[in-house]
Symmetry: C2
Subunit: 176 residues, 2 copies
């Protein structure tokens, strides 16, 4: 596992919780990590292959049923995951097209800018509701240690999105 691309660690991290198929890994990413990470089949399946060749994961083909391929993490995989987890973070990146369009608002005009803010606000409100539901569910099962860490990331989403909504109000005032 010479290369350091993050999808390696996303997969190892998810497998460190429980054995999963490629398909299930994709679902976990879309459900639990979607706020701060993404990944496609086109990166997941090939990465599972190389992780197996490098002895970081083991595969087990179901003999009955659909013949699913269930991957689990090896000791070596767990070690490499831990090593990466301890390293300082390299990059936290925000890429908001909304802000890009607002920055060029002089060309777009006030009405157009307000439309973007409106759309943004609605999307954030919806997402926030979901996050608040996740958080409420996680709070109920905090006895399990890992849930604490999931909750941490959900709370990050909640705090951020509340701030975004707060900003929407400010922005509308500033423009009116």
């Amino acid at each position: 596992m010479a290369n350091e691309k993050k999808i390696n660690y996303v997969i190892l991290g998810l497998l460190s919780h429980e054995p999963l198929t490629g398909y299930e890994i994709k679902k976990k990413i879309d459900q639990s990590l979607r706020f701060f990470w993404s990944g496609s089949y086109g990166s997941i399946y090939p990465t599972l292959d190389t992780l197996e060749k490098d002895g970081c994961v083991e595969k087990k083909e179901e003999s009955s049923g659909r013949g699913k391929i269930i991957y689990s993490i090896t000791e070596r995989g767990r070690m490499l995951l831990k090593e990466w987890l301890m390293k300082p973070v390299e990059k936290d990146e925000l890429r908001y097209e909304t802000l890009l369009k607002l920055f060029f608002g002089g060309e777009l005009g006030k009405e157009g800018v307000l439309t973007h803010i409106q759309r943004f606000e609605e999307k954030i409100k919806q997402e926030l509701l979901l996050f608040e539901m996740y958080a409420a569910n996680l709070e109920k099962v905090l006895d399990e240690e890992e849930h604490k860490y999931y909750l941490l990331t959900v709370k990050f989403g909640i705090e951020s999105y509340r701030a975004f909504l707060n900003w929407c109000e400010q922005a509308k005032t500033l423009l009116s």
Copy 2:
């Protein structure tokens, strides 16, 4: 300008304010857009080329001095920029390695997680100070219309970063 990659519009947007060289475009991105966008020479110079071939920008080579190539936007470029600005936003994306590492905190352990939170907090505090300076400067020159839109994006940064710091406190409490 058949393809829709965003760097096209970043450049057109910056040139809609004033004529610039490729080098200056890079600086503007790093200074004013860095919170929500990025771009490298390897994408800027080739894009300027194709934008010129498509009649969206015009170049003017300085005869004296260093022979800088100064680009300015054409009417066609301005039109295409406006068209894009009016379209709904396609993607607002956050990619925070910090949150990824926290999500796998079960494997890393409490101390490790706290270290990441600490590092994150320090970085955000520094950035926030800068944003607050920018905002203060912009508030002084709000008579110029475009500054309002710059301020909007800076304020987004400020609100977000304050929320992040608030989350850091919550997180530390939750873990202790």
